[in-house]
Amino acid sequence: MSARKTPQPATARPTTPGFGTSNEDDSRLAKAESRAVRARSLRLLGSLIHPIRVRFWLTVAMVVVSQAAHAAGPALIAFGIDRALPALSHGDSAPLVLAGIGYLLAAVVTAWLTAMYVTSTAKLSQAMLLDLRLRVFRHTQRLSLEFHEKYTSGRIIARQTSDLEALRELLDSGVSSLAAGLMFMLFTAVTVFGLDWQSGLIMLGAAVPAAFLTRWYQIRSQVAYRESRVVSARIIVHFVETMTGIRAVKAFRKEARNTREYTDLSEKYRRVTVRSINLNGIYLPALVLLGNVTVAVVLAVAGFRVLHGELPVGVLLALVLSVKRFFQPVDQMAMFYNSFQSAQAALEKVSGLLEEVPTVRPPKEPVPLPEAHGRIEFRDVEFQYGDGPVVVPELNLTIPAGQTVALVGQTGAGKSTLAKLIARFYDVSSGSLTLDGVELSRIATPELRRAVVMVTQEAFLFSGSVADNIALGRPGASREEIEAAARAVGADAFIRALPDGYDTDVNKRGGRVSAGQRQLISFARAFLANPAVLILDEATSSLDIPSERLVQEGLARLLGGGAADAHDDGARQAERRTALIIAHRLSTVEIADRVLVVHDGRVVEDGTPEELIQGGGRFAALHGAWKDSLV
C-alpha cells in the first residue's frame, strides 16, 4: 500500500562504474573500477597533504638533516681513533677536542631534530585527520535524507572511526620512517658506488625482483585490505545497531542470535586481518631475503675479483658491509607500504562517501529572502522518490501567508511527502514550489531553514541538557528565552520537575525522558526557532491529553504570532505564521483555517472545516465518526 513511501536509491548520480558508495561492499573490483577508486583515494590523500605541504617538506627536511647528523657520529668516532689518537700521542690535543665537540654537536642536533620531527609528524597527521574528519562530517550533514535513508549510521561511523584510524597509522609512523629509510639508502648507495661501481650496479639490480615482489604484494594486499574495510564496517554497523536498540534486543531475547552473528563477523574480520598480515609476513621476509641474497652475490662476484687481484681485500669488507647496510631499512619500508595499502583501502571508502552528491543542493545563486512571509505555492508539481512511482501527480495549491492548514488523509496518502517537499528534504521532480514567490531551490539554505521548520513524530534528543536541546531551535538564545519557549508549549512544569530542571542531562538518545516529553521539548525547539512556516508532522502523537491541551494553547499563540514576545525581533509580531499540520487529532484540526484532504498524492477536498462538513464529503464523514466517538 505504501511501499511508495520508501525512497529508491538515487538515480540522479553519474553512472561511472564504482562511483560514490555504490561498490562499497565489494573487495574484488574489476580492473578499471579498481584503478578508479585507487586514483580517487590517492587524490584525497593529495588534497589532504596540499594545505600543509610546507610543513610536510619541512618535516622531511628535519628527518634528512637529523639522519645526516646521525651518520656523522660514527664518522667522528673513526676520525677520533684514526687521527686524534695518534695526534694526542704526539702531544696535539686539538683534533681530540674537535672530535669531542663535533660528536656532542651531532648528538644534540640529532636528538633535537628527532624530537622536533616527532612532534611535527603528529601535527601533520593530526591536521590531516582533523581536516578529513570535518570534511566527512560536513559532507554527511549536507547529503540528502534520501542518501541517509539507505546508508546506515553505522557505516558513517565506520568511515569516521576505523577508516580514519588506518590513515592515522600510516601518517604517524610512515612519513618519518620512509624519509629516514630513503635517505639512509641513498647515502649508503653513494658509499657503495664510491667504493666499487660494479658492485653498486649489482646491488641496484635487486630492485628488479623487488619491484615484482612489490607488485605482487600490492595486488594481493589491496584485495585483502579492501575486504578488511568491508568486514570491519559490517561489524561496526552490527555493533551500533545492537547498542542503540538494546531495549528491543533484550525484550525479544535477541542476545544469543546477535552473539552468533557478531562472533561470525568478528571471526571473519580476524581471518581477513590474518590474511593481510600474512601477506606482509611473506613480503617483508622476502625483501630481507632478497637483500641478503644480494649481499651474497656481491660477495661472490667481488670475492673472485679479490682472488684475481682485481680488488683490494680492504675494500671488499667495507663494500659487503655497506651493501648489507643498504638493505637495513627495507623492513621499515615494507611496514610503510603495508600501512599505505591499508590506508589507501580505507581512503577508497571515505572518498567514495565524499563523492556522493547531495540530491538536494544549495542554490548557486541564491535569491535573498530577508524576511519570509510564508506564502507557499505548488504549481504543476510532480514528485517521485528516485525513479520510483509518481507519489504526487500534478499538484496545484496555494497556501497564503499566515494560514493554518490541516492535512488529512489515510496513512500513505502523501501527507508527509508534501510536508517534506515544503521543508525541502526532497526536491520536486517537476513543476515549481515557491515560498513568497521564490523557488525553494533558489533560497539559501540558512534562510530557508530560518523560514521553514518541521517538527516530526520522532523527536530526537542530543546528549546534553534539556536547555541545550531546546536551544537547538535558536543557538545563542538566553536561558530566559529558552524557558519562555518551554512555558509557551507547556513543557515548563515537567522540565522543572526533572532532577536538575533545565540542566538535566537527557542522556544518550533521551533514555530518561518519555516520548511525550521529548515531543514537548521538540515543540519548545520549534517555538524558539520562530519560523515563518511551521510544519508539524504527527508531532503530537505521543502526548497525553493535558499536555496536548497545553500544546494547543501554545500552538495557538505560536501561530498567532504571539511567540514573538519571547524574542527581540518583533518583526513577525503582528504577522501570523503559516502552519501545516498533519495530525490524527481533531483538536489540532479545529484550529485550522483550512483543511486539505489528501488521497493518493492529490488534494481531493479543500475548504474550511465548516464548509467541508456541510459539503458531505470524506471530511464530513470523518467528522461524523468523530462525533460518534465522543459519546
Binding site: A251, R253, V293, L448, H584
Partner: protein
C-alpha cells in the same frame, strides 16, 4: 615508579588469562625475534672474520664459496626467523583480540539498560574496535620488541663493561636521568593516552548522534552548529594527540641525547685513556662498535614504551566495561515451578519503588515510583493512565526487567520476577515500546523475533503466526512491500513511516505469544479506524493474555477491562473507565477530552477499508 609499574603489571595480570593459551607461541615468537636480531648483529662480525682472515689474492676459489654460503645461510636464517616470529605470534594474537572483542560484546548485551542509557555507543565502539586492534598490534609486535630491545641493551651494556668499565660507567651514568624522566613520562603519558582514547570514543558518539538526529538537524538547519561543536570536539582530540607526541618527543630527546652525550664524553676519555696506555686500541674500537649497536634499541625504547602505555590504557578501558557488574541477571537457580504454558499470568506490583540508577547515588534521590501497588488478574487488560512524565513507561519496563525495582517486588502468579530466568521471563512477557526499534532484517524475521521456538520450528505454523500477527496489528501493508514479507526493513533496509513501524512492532509483540503483554502507547501513530480494528482483533487474541497498556486516549482505554491511574508515583485509583470518570477528578483531567477532545481524523471511509481488505485478500490469495 613502583606504583605505575605495579598498575601496569596489574593490567597485564588482567590480560593474562586470555594470553595464557597462547603463551608458548608468544615465547617462541620472542625467541625468534631475539634470534633474528642476534643474527642481524652477528652478520658483520662473521663477514669480518671470513673476509679478513680467509680471502686473499691468489687463494683458492673454494674460500669465496664458503664465505658466500655462510653469508647466504645467515641471510636465509635471518629472513626465516623474521617470518617465524610473525607466524608464531600473529595468528594467536588475533585470536586473543577476537576473544576479547566477542566477550566485550556479550557482556555489553548482558549489561542493564541503565548502563546503555549512560554510555554512548560510539564510546563503546571505540573500545570494541580501536582499542582491541591496538592491543593486538602491541601483543604481536610492541610487547615482544620491547623485551627484545631491553634485552639487547642489557647484553650490549654488559659487553661494553667487559671492554672498558670506565667508559661503560660514563655510558651508564646517562641512564640515571633517563629513568627519572621515564617515571614522569610514564605517568603523564598514561594520562594523555587515556584522554585521547576517551575523546576518540566521544567523537564517535557525536558522529552517531549527528547521523541519527539528521532529520532534526536538517529541519532546523543546524548543520553548521553541529559541525562547529564536532569541530570543537575533534580539535580537543587533536590537541591531546599533539600533547601526546610532545611528551613522547621530550622523552625521546632525553633518551637519545643523554647516551650520545655520554658517548661523546666517552670518546674523549677513551682516546685519552688509550693515549696513556690504559686501554688498547682494539678495546676502544670494539667499545664504540658495540655502542653503535646499542644506540638503535635505545632510540626505539621511547616509542615502544609509549606503545606499552597506550596498550595498558586500552586494557584498562576494556576491563572498565567488563568489570561493570550485570545488575539484572538470571538467578543462579531459576525457579521454574511450572511450565510457561501453565502460567495464568496474574501480575502483581507490591510496594514497588523505582528510581534511576544515577539518582540513587544522590543525597536525595528522586523516586519516580513510590510504594506502588497494583494487581492484574490473569487474562485481564488494564490501561495505565497518567500525565506525561508520571513514570508509566518506567513502570512498564520493570515487568520484563529492563529496569529493576529499587524496592518492593513484582510477581507473576505469585512468583517474584527475579526468580525467573531472564530468558524465561522475557518469553513470558512481551513488549511494544513507543520507540519502535526494528532490526535490519526481513519483515518476517522482525515479526517472528520473539516467537516461541516450537512455532518457528514448523514452517507452516510460523507463516500462520506471522500472518495472524500482521493481521491483528493491521499491518497488511507489509504484504505489498517490494519483496513482500521478505523485504528487508530497519536501518539497513527500507525505511517505513512511524505508523508502519509501530504496527510491525505491535505484530512482533503479539507473535511472541506472551502470557503477559505490556504495551507502551502502541497505537499512538494509528488513525482512529485502524486503532479500532486493531483493538477488536487484539481483544480476540489477548483473551488469555494479561495486558498492561499505557493509554493516552479514551479510545485506547476502551480496549481495557479496568483502568489504573498513576499519580505521584502511586496507583491513585483503579476501576472501569466510567467509574473513574465519575469519581476521580485527576482522571478526568488526564483522559477526558472535555471540549477539545482529541479524536482522529485520518481514518479512511468504511467502504474504502472494505475495498482495501478485498485487495489484500487478493494479494494474500
Amino acid at each position: 615508579m613502583a606504583q605505575t609499574q605495579s598498575t601496569f603489571l596489574h593490567a597485564l595480570t588482567r590480560l593474562y588469562p586470555h594470553l595464557k593459551p597462547i603463551m608458548p607461541r608468544l615465547i617462541m615468537g620472542f625467541f625468534s625475534a631475539l634470534g633474528a636480531s642476534i643474527v642481524a648483529l652477528a652478520v658483520p662480525q662473521v663477514l669480518k672474520v671470513l673476509i679478513n682472515d680467509s680471502l686473499h689474492p691468489g687463494g683458492p676459489s673454494s674460500e669465496v664459496w664458503i664465505a658466500v654460503l655462510a653469508v647466504l645461510g645467515l641471510g636465509i636464517l635471518e629472513a626465516g626467523l623474521i617470518a617465524l616470529r610473525r607466524q608464531f605470534v600473529i595468528s594467536p594474537a588475533t585470536t586473543v583480540e577476537n576473544g576479547l572483542r566477542v566477550s566485550l560484546y556479550r557482556h555489553l548485551q548482558d549489561l542493564a539498560v541503565d548502563f546503555h542509557d549512560r554510555w554512548g555507543s560510539g564510546q563503546l565502539l571505540s573500545r570494541a574496535m580501536a582499542d582491541l586492534n591496538f592491543l593486538r598490534r602491541w601483543m604481536a609486535f610492541g610487547a615482544i620488541m620491547l623485551m627484545v630491545t631491553t634485552l639487547t641493551v642489557i647484553i650490549g651494556v654488559a659487553l661494553m663493561f667487559s671492554m672498558s668499565w670506565q667508559l661503560a660507567l660514563v655510558f651508564l651514568a646517562a641512564a640515571v636521568p633517563i629513568v627519572a624522566t621515564g617515571t614522569r613520562f610514564r605517568r603523564n603519558f598514561l594520562k594523555v593516552a587515556r584522554r585521547s582514547q576517551d575523546q576518540a570514543g566521544d567523537l564517535a558518539t557525536a558522529v552517531e548522534e549527528s547521523v541519527h538526529g539528521i532529520r532534526v538537524l536538517k529541519a532546523f538547519g543546524r548543520g553548521r552548529e553541529a559541525l562547529e561543536s564536532f569541530n570543537a570536539q575533534a580539535e580537543e582530540l587533536r590537541e591531546t594527540e599533539i600533547l601526546k607526541a610532545r611528551q613522547l618527543a621530550f622523552f625521546s630527546l632525553i633518551s637519545t641525547l643523554l647516551p650520545e652525550l655520554a658517548l661523546g664524553v666517552g670518546l674523549v676519555l677513551g682516546i685519552a685513556l688509550t693515549a696513556s696506555g690504559q686501554l688498547s686500541i682494539g678495546a676502544l674500537v670494539a667499545f664504540f662498535a658495540t655502542a653503535a649497536v646499542v644506540a638503535g634499541p635505545v632510540e626505539a625504547i621511547g616509542m615502544l614504551l609509549s606503545m606499552a602505555l597506550t596498550a595498558k590504557s586500552a586494557i584498562d578501558r576494556h576491563f572498565e566495561v567488563m568489570d561493570t557488574p550485570v545488575t539484572i541477571a538470571s538467578p543462579e537457580r531459576p525457579e521454574r515451578p511450572e511450565r510457561p504454558a501453565h502460567l495464568r499470568g496474574a501480575l502483581s506490583f507490591r510496594n514497588v519503588s523505582f528510581a534511576f540508577a544515577d539518582e540513587l547515588d544522590k543525597d536525595t534521590p528522586h523516586f519516580l515510583l513510590r510504594g506502588l501497588d497494583l494487581d492484574l488478574h490473569p487474562g485481564e487488560t488494564m490501561a495505565l493512565v497518567g500525565v506525561t512524565g508520571s513514570g508509566k513507561s518506567a513502570l512498564l519496563q520493570l515487568v520484563p526487567r529492563l529496569y529493576e525495582v529499587t524496592e518492593g517486588s513484582i510477581t507473576i502468579d505469585g512468583q517474584d520476577l527475579r526468580g525467573f530466568g531472564l530468558e524465561e521471563l522475557r518469553r513470558i512477557v512481551s513488549v511494544a515500546f513507543e520507540d519502535t526499534t526494528l532490526f535490519s532484517n526481513s519483515v518476517r524475521d522482525n515479526v517472528l523475533l520473539g516467537a516461541p521456538a516450537d512455532v518457528l520450528a514448523d514452517e507452516e505454523r510460523a507463516t500462520a503466526a506471522l500472518a495472524e500477527a500482521l493481521d491483528v496489528a493491521q499491518a497488511h501493508f507489509a504484504h505489498s512491500l517490494p519483496d513482500g514479507l521478505d523485504t528487508r526493513i530497519g536501518e539497513e533496509g527500507l525505511s517505513l513511516s512511524g505508523g508502519q513501524r509501530q504496527r510491525i512492532a505491535l505484530a512482533r509483540a503479539i507473535a511472541a505469544r506472551p502470557k503477559v503483554l505490556v504495551l507502551d502507547d502502541p497505537l499512538s501513530a494509528l488513525d482512529v479506524a485502524t486503532e479500532e480494528l486493531v483493538e477488536t482483533r487484539l481483544r480476540e487474541v489477548l483473551r488469555d493474555t494479561t495486558t498492561l497498556i499505557v493509554a493516552h486516549r479514551p479510545s485506547t482505554v476502551a480496549l481495557a477491562d479496568r483502568v489504573a491511574l498513576l499519580q505521584d508515583g502511586r496507583i491513585a485509583d483503579v476501576g472501569t473507565h466510567s467509574e473513574l470518570l465519575a469519581r476521580n477528578e485527576h482522571y478526568r483531567y488526564v483522559i477526558a477530552s472535555l471540549d477539545t477532545g482529541p479524536v482522529d481524523l485520518d481514518s479512511e471511509l468504511e467502504e474504502e477499508r472494505e475495498l482495501g481488505n478485498e485487495l489484500e485478500d487478493e494479494v494474500n490469495a
